[in-house]
């Protein structure tokens, strides 16, 4: 007969009894009960080891009470008071969330890790309103993180700060339409298992203390730490995921190889209808394997190959393993972790591979008045990736996959030992065998990075503290690209077809990036009176960023398969350079609080930047914000339904200083682009210099962002409904860009402060808990963001600036329009008269192009984005899911372009490829007496024989506008189920807890029917604004699914 306890549970708030509270013995969790309608409970037969009772009820803080015998009466504290969470703000200063006058969205470790991604940033996709996160390829490739829309023409990356120290976020690889290879950005180096929480500071007031570096928001990452005297625990986190291609372009299945007649050499599907009959295909070779036009090739059915593209790819995998040891001694707490992330992507072979090893040691020591924090991290990355876009020095894989007849099975071209599949005999001479490309052409990357910090805090007096924080971040990287030699044998099928030799190519690039950042802080807090509190900080910051590179390439290799700069008959082309910039800042922040319900913060910073003109390099930034907790101010507002209301307002200014070396013009060794090739001096042993086409500017100023923000944060029904809404208006002016100037000025661009962009928007974050019982909780969260941008000014003489372009699609900033407009060649239309507005066609019935005009066919800006999160917890089981929805906006797709061109796009079967006349069009019938054209109704059909010309951009220039596709999508970003094994399994032994899970990422993608080509997030134009142009045969995105396990020792 064991002990017995009984008692009553009340709410600390209203002293009313709470029914349904779960009460159990901590040492034996199966022994428990729940409280009755009047809050009473009784537990009998307690085992001898029962020492503590746990009281748990949703909406209240869990409490533990020692069993002493007799009545145990407990007052549970509502979770409302947990609103007062601590968040990390600028310069690593911790603040109570409720005092903040601006939006700061925090994502906790468990949410970050739910999808088990190797990247921290993909863990917040869809979870934070106003932060757009997208990735564009396999594990380890770059993440695009854009906070509250694009405001700069060049630099929109947020600043990443880890434990108070800025880290570098360089992009490795290259972007653009040729040979784009993505080795990720450095924010992806952080092991997600090391992260305790991540806070996004969105507005200018929140980030004003970072001055010239903060215009695009700040991502504050706080790593896990250990307390002094904490027991040592070891934790293992592992996941294994498979990955598949998420989206492959859909091809038409009606017509087969040909252009427009069947032609064995063609790589398009403009040929006859697929009839399923056996037919001859591929290179005609004689009995000796020699090309003979009279011979036949192989035989196969003339029919559509289902899932041809999808089956080219393989199932990849990704594993993430982290072991961490955490604990403390009398004065010191420490965490050591080792993480390994390893992935082999969906491209066959090891052509796309990622391996990241992270070692992290973080500690904190308290000794007398000293509080010392330190960390050191070592990251080693090894990566293989394929080039996206087209290849300048050898074939790239994706165009070869797209330029392919729909009846030719890639499985039939896979065996490279088969004579029909080698570089002489591949069925089309207009593309390289993709299997050969993937095996022979590639890219490799490796880097070593060390970053860390040392921070000393000294308490001078009570309430007065000095801090010195030194951070360093050093990376060395090496990139290699190789393209194999492919000489066509004289007289071979490829040779006779005019296929160019591949001469072989090797490129090697080394980069070093260093950052040193020092911050000194003096902070204090005082109670000025009973009602008025003050705390403030005075600070100094020094930041230096340096980089250097050496890049060499050799085109034309001698010895096959030997990739070296020494394998050539000519010297490799080399370039190298260094860059260094310094920034000094002095700053101060003052916080006032009145009766703990009204708060006011003032931030000031002055920067001196080396990249701005001498004597004009000093800039002042400031911000002010205030918040009032109405429910504390007017206690009468607070009741059972209304728990908390806070209103806030913020105003601030931040900046973006210039890139290095833009104030002066310089002379460069002459290198002239001539369309597809280049002319590089020296010639005949004589070097030449040419003045840069970019004009320097001694009047540069930083870009300035001024932002006004209002918000409400409210919680109702015992926190079961919470919402946080923000409105912001952000004006960014004096963008530093290489503004295009007319060449007759002597320059093609000038570094200039130009323009004004407005971004205004609304962000909402709503969280509802529809079901909450002692065992079951279901939570639904919705994030909504609508950002409206407008280009308000550019510079004198123009209303437009071209940000990027693909073929003749220009991606523009145009005054009066949202930032990012797509201009496409326009059809020539009749200007006046009875046919005014009609399209004019040429003698083949195809639309003529207007020689001096382009049509605006859309914007890259979404109407809005939404994220839907849900979490269902039942006992130890948690189910969570995240949907991400983007409505509106466009992007340009080369994939669409090329698939229209070669007859693979589904829409090319329009009208069964039978003749049609362009509706509402006219043709010219001579000129009148005044020399003006006479137009008559068009009756020229586009014949079925020439349908292919209608879809060919060089024969129907205006068709290019149809390659700008809707960017809408709905994505199932994450779905995860995890189960924590009951504690009773681990009563004894070393293992303290185990949880297992099943995880899926990007399992589902929906796009409108006009986009049956690509994942609209896929891009090879980097991770900043140019990426909004779209894609040029970009790498496919992937879907990942697998399992995870966590073991605590």
């Amino acid at each position: 007969q064991g002990k017995q306890v009984s008692g009553k549970v009340l709410s600390a708030e209203d002293k009313q009894p709470i029914p349904g509270v779960s009460v159990f013995v901590k040492e034996a969790s199966t022994i428990g009960t729940s409280t009755s309608i009047d809050g009473q409970f009784t537990l009998k037969n307690l085992p001898a080891n029962a020492k503590t009772l746990v009281f748990r009820f949703v909406g209240f803080q869990t409490q533990e009470v020692a069993i002493k015998g007799g009545e145990i009466n407990v007052s549970l504290i509502p979770e409302t008071q947990k609103i007062d969470e601590v968040v990390v703000t600028a310069m690593g200063m911790k603040k109570s969330e409720k005092t903040l006058g601006y939006a700061a969205s925090t994502v906790k470790s468990e949410d970050l890790l739910a999808g088990r991604s190797a990247s921290v940033m993909s863990g917040i996709a869809g979870k934070v309103a106003g932060v757009n996160v997208s990735s564009s390829g396999q594990t380890g490739t770059s993440q695009k993180v854009i906070v509250r829309g694009y405001s700069s023409f060049s630099e929109n990356q947020p600043l990443y700060v880890v434990d108070g120290v800025p880290i570098q976020n360089n992009f490795s690889g290259s972007d653009g339409s040729s040979d784009a290879v993505d080795f990720g950005n450095q924010a992806g180096d952080i092991n997600p298992d090391d992260v305790e929480s991540l806070t996004v500071l969105k507005g200018a007031s929140a980030t004003a203390l970072y001055g010239s570096r903060a215009a695009n928001g700040v991502i504050m990452i706080t790593t896990k730490r250990s307390q002094q005297d904490e027991r040592i625990t070891v934790e293992y986190n592992g996941s294994f995921m498979a990955s598949d291609v998420l989206r492959v372009p859909q091809t038409q299945n009606v017509f087969g190889q040909g252009w427009p007649d069947w032609d064995r050499m063609e790589n398009g599907s403009w040929g006859p209808k697929l009839d399923g009959r056996m037919h001859d295909w591929g290179a005609p070779l004689d009995a000796n394997g020699k090309f003979d036009p009279k011979a036949t090739g192989r035989e196969k059915r003339f029919s559509y190959v289902e899932d041809n593209l999808r089956n080219f790819y393989e199932t990849g995998f990704e594993t993430n393993n982290t072991v961490s040891v955490k604990g403390g001694t009398k004065n010191t707490g420490f965490v050591f972790s080792y993480g390994n992330s390893y992935a082999n992507g969906v491209i066959p072979t090891d052509a796309d591979k990622y391996s990241r090893n992270t070692f992290s040691f973080r500690g904190n020591t308290k000794y007398n008045n000293f509080d010392i924090n330190y960390s050191i991290n070592y990251v080693r990355k090894d990566m293989n990736n394929v080039s996206a876009g087209q290849g300048d020095n050898g074939a790239t894989i994706f165009p070869e996959l797209l330029q392919h007849a729909v009846d030719v099975d890639f499985q039939d071209t896979k065996d490279l030992n088969n004579i029909y599949n080698n570089t002489d005999n591949y069925y089309t001479v207009y593309a390289e065998n993709p299997w050969w490309v993937v095996k022979n052409n590639g890219n490799k990357y490796q880097d070593d990075r060390i970053y860390g910090k040392a921070e000393v805090n000294y308490e001078i007096l009570k309430g007065l503290r000095a801090t010195a924080r030194l951070g360093g971040d050093f990376t060395n990287s090496r990139q290699q690209r190789w393209n194999a030699i492919a000489k066509r044998t004289v007289g071979s099928y490829a040779y006779e077809g005019g296929k160019k030799d591949e001469v072989g190519y090797y490129n090697e690039r080394n980069d070093a990036w260093d950052q040193i950042d020092f911050t000194g802080l003096l902070s204090g807090n005082y109670k000025l009176s009973n009602d008025l509190g003050f705390d403030g900080v005075l600070g100094y910051n020094f930041n230096q960023r340096s980089s250097s590179f050496h890049n060499s390439s050799l085109s034309g290799l001698v010895q096959p398969n030997w990739y070296s700069l020494e394998n050539g008959e000519v010297m490799p082309l080399s370039s190298s350079g260094i860059s260094r910039r310094r920034l000094i800042g002095a700053f101060s922040q003052m916080n006032f609080d009145f009766r703990n319900y009204w708060f006011l913060t003032l931030s000031l910073r002055n920067d001196w930047s080396s990249t701005l003109p001498k004597n004009k390099n000093s800039f002042f930034y400031w911000g002010v914000n205030t918040s009032a907790i109405l429910t504390d101010m007017f206690k009468s507002l607070q009741n059972d339904y209304v728990n908390f209301i806070k209103v806030r307002a913020a105003y601030g200014q931040t900046g973006n200083d210039a890139p290095a070396y833009r104030t002066y013009s310089a002379y460069f060794p002459t290198q002239i682009g001539v369309g597809f090739g280049d002319l590089y001096l020296p010639f005949a042993g004589v070097l030449g210099l040419t003045e840069s086409n970019r004009l320097g500017n001694m009047g540069l100023k930083p870009e300035i962002t001024t932002e006004l923000e209002f918000g409400i944060d409210a919680r109702f029904f015992k926190n079961r409904l919470t919402f946080d809404v923000a409105y912001y208006n952000k004006q960014t002016k004096d963008q530093i860009i290489s503004a295009t100037v007319a060449p007759e000025t002597g320059y093609t661009s000038r570094t200039q402060n130009i323009g004004k962009i407005e971004n205004q928007g609304v962000e909402a974050n709503v969280r509802i808990i529809p079901v909450r019982t002692s065992d079951l909780e279901w939570e639904v969260g919705v994030t909504f963001a609508k950002n409206k941008s407008k280009v308000k000014e550019l510079w004198a003489g123009t209303d437009r600036y071209r940000i990027a372009s693909g073929y003749e699609i220009d991606f523009m900033a145009i005054v009066g329009q949202p930032l990012g407009q797509f201009l496409a060649p326009a059809e020539l239309r009749v200007a006046e008269g009875e046919h005014a507005g009609k399209i004019v066609v040429n003698s083949a019935g195809r639309p003529l192009v207007d020689a001096g005009k382009k049509d605006n066919v859309g914007t890259s800006q979404p109407d809005f984005t939404m994220g839907f999160n849900t979490r269902l917890t039942y006992k130890g089981i948690t189910l969570s899911g995240v949907f991400d929805w983007r409505k509106g906006g466009q992007f340009w797709s080369y994939t669409s372009h090329i698939m229209n061109f070669n007859g693979n796009a589904t829409k090319t079967t329009f009208n069964e490829r039978q003749p049609f006349v362009i509706p509402n069009s006219v043709k010219q019938a001579g000129v009148d007496a005044n020399g003006k054209p006479i137009y008559v109704e068009n009756d020229i059909p586009i014949t079925n024989y020439e349908t292919y010309n209608y879809y060919n951009n060089s024969k129907n220039t205006p068709i290019q506008k149809t390659f700008v596709l809707p960017k809408d999508y709905l994505k199932l970003r994450e779905i995860a189920v995890s189960y924590s094994l009951p504690k009773k399994f681990f009563k004894s032994g070393y293992v303290k807890g185990v949880s297992i899970g099943v995880v899926g990422r990007n399992l589902f993608l929906w796009t409108p029917k006009d986009n049956n080509f690509v994942d609209p997030e896929a891009t090879n134009y980097g991770n900043d604004i140019t990426s909004e142009l779209g894609e040029f045969a970009a790498a496919p995105t992937t879907r990942n699914y697998g399992g995870s396990i966590k073991i605590v020792f």
């Binding site: 252009w259 007649d261 032609d263 050499m265 063609e266 087209q390 006779e496 077809g497 005019g498 160019k500 034309g556 260094i578 000094i584 001196w608 930047s609 080396s610 003109p613 001498k614 290095a660 070396y661 104030t663 002066y664 013009s665 310089a666 002379y667 002459t670 290198q671 002239i672 001539v674 090739g677 280049d678 002319l679 010639f683 005949a684 004589v686 030449g688 210099l689 003045e691 086409n693 500017n697 295009t740 100037v741 007319a742 007759e744 000025t745 002597g746 320059y747 003489g797 060649p825 003529l848 192009v849 207007d850 020689a851 001096g852 010219q924 020439e946 060919n952 060089s954 024969k955 220039t957």
Partner: protein, 468 residues
Amino acid sequence: CESFLDINKDPNYPGKASPKLLLPSSIAWTASRVGSDLQMVGGFWCQHYTQNNSSNQYNTTVTYDLTYSSYNGVWSAAYAGALKDLKSIVETSEAEKQWNYYVPAKILMAFNFHILADFYETVPFNEILQGADNMQPKYDDGKTVYAGIIRLLDEAIAKKDLALAANEEIPIGSEDYVYAGDLEKWIQFAKSLKFKVLMRDYEANKDALAELIAENDFVTVDARMNGFVDQENKSNPLYENDRRKLNTTNNIKASNTLIAFLTANKDPRIANFFEKAKGIYKGLPYGNTSVPTATTPSNTTSRAMLAATDPVYFLSVAESYFTIAEYYARIPNAGKAKEFYDKAVNEAFLRWGYTNASEFTKAGGVYEFPSDNTKMVEAIITQKWVASTRCQAWDSFFDINRTGYPQLGTKQTTDAGYVIGQLVPAAHSVLNAGELPRRLIIPKSSSDYNTNAPKVIPLAQKMWWHKK
């Protein structure tokens, strides 16, 4: 901390360059588009070449379907490339009395404007190259630009003696990719160019032309950029672009128009202009972008022959002779015209190593100079048209505009009644019947950013000096 922050001068590149380093650069800039885009546009539009039927690269050019997005590189290479560096040379050489650099710089300026004026007619001239001081330079009409070209050439010619003297002290050497520092030759180039430009308006410039004829100091060595080698980034720009870097080398094909002419006349230069396909020379109909590949595979038609080492011509001796022949034909002085015609054809043959031109120009030969005075100009320009292949095709395009030769017929080369040597209508021309392209459209790199740029001028609109 000011000096601590004073680290913003690019440590990687110099902030100044001497004429010695700028001269090779400005020659290369000049050659870059003249030797690539313009050589190609010229080659297509005078129907030396046409677009291959199994590829698409130059479809819009051969069908005259160009817009303000087309060939924008011409403009930037001339203004922001060549002319800017040339201006720098002129300024430095004036200040430091380095007249030996001043002379070629002025001449190259004139040459660049000649190309611009003849392709665009109305171009910025007087207010250019002032950087931030004038971001919206005014456009000047063709006549003004022509007068300016003459002025530039006269300024160069006037400094001849000073330049020769300066060259004695510190001579120009291999940095001059054209004449390796031979300033006498540069002056000859200047005079030949001046003569050519004055010929645009023969009636108005008779006296000046006669003066130059009297001086008789025309080019004796081709003005061309030499030094290209078969190496990536160091080759003839058309070769580099079309053959080394494009994904297919099968774009520029022989046009039937020129093939028919060369074949009919058994002209040996066919071997230098075109590659054999399946053992024969076979062309494609000009401007027909729908020739089926199944019946006419690309390995059955001749490619343009191009070499990595081909020089880029600015003004050739043959061209100079043809122009002088044309001058005499207009006087008319049939004897002198024939003399220079024969010399010109001989030079054009010699360029490719043929010493037998006289067999063609002799009495009874296929290229015999016509005795009918009204046929002289046509004969001269027709031979000039052939000679400009793989050399100065853009100049032949100018000649079509200027003289109307070769004439545009109405028949295709395979049609009965086709006159050998006439241009054919492009099957897929987007222009009206009987129209030819007369210009390039002012690029949007200027028109979008210079408020003084004129509205789009139609491709078929003639220039002031064009034959109506």
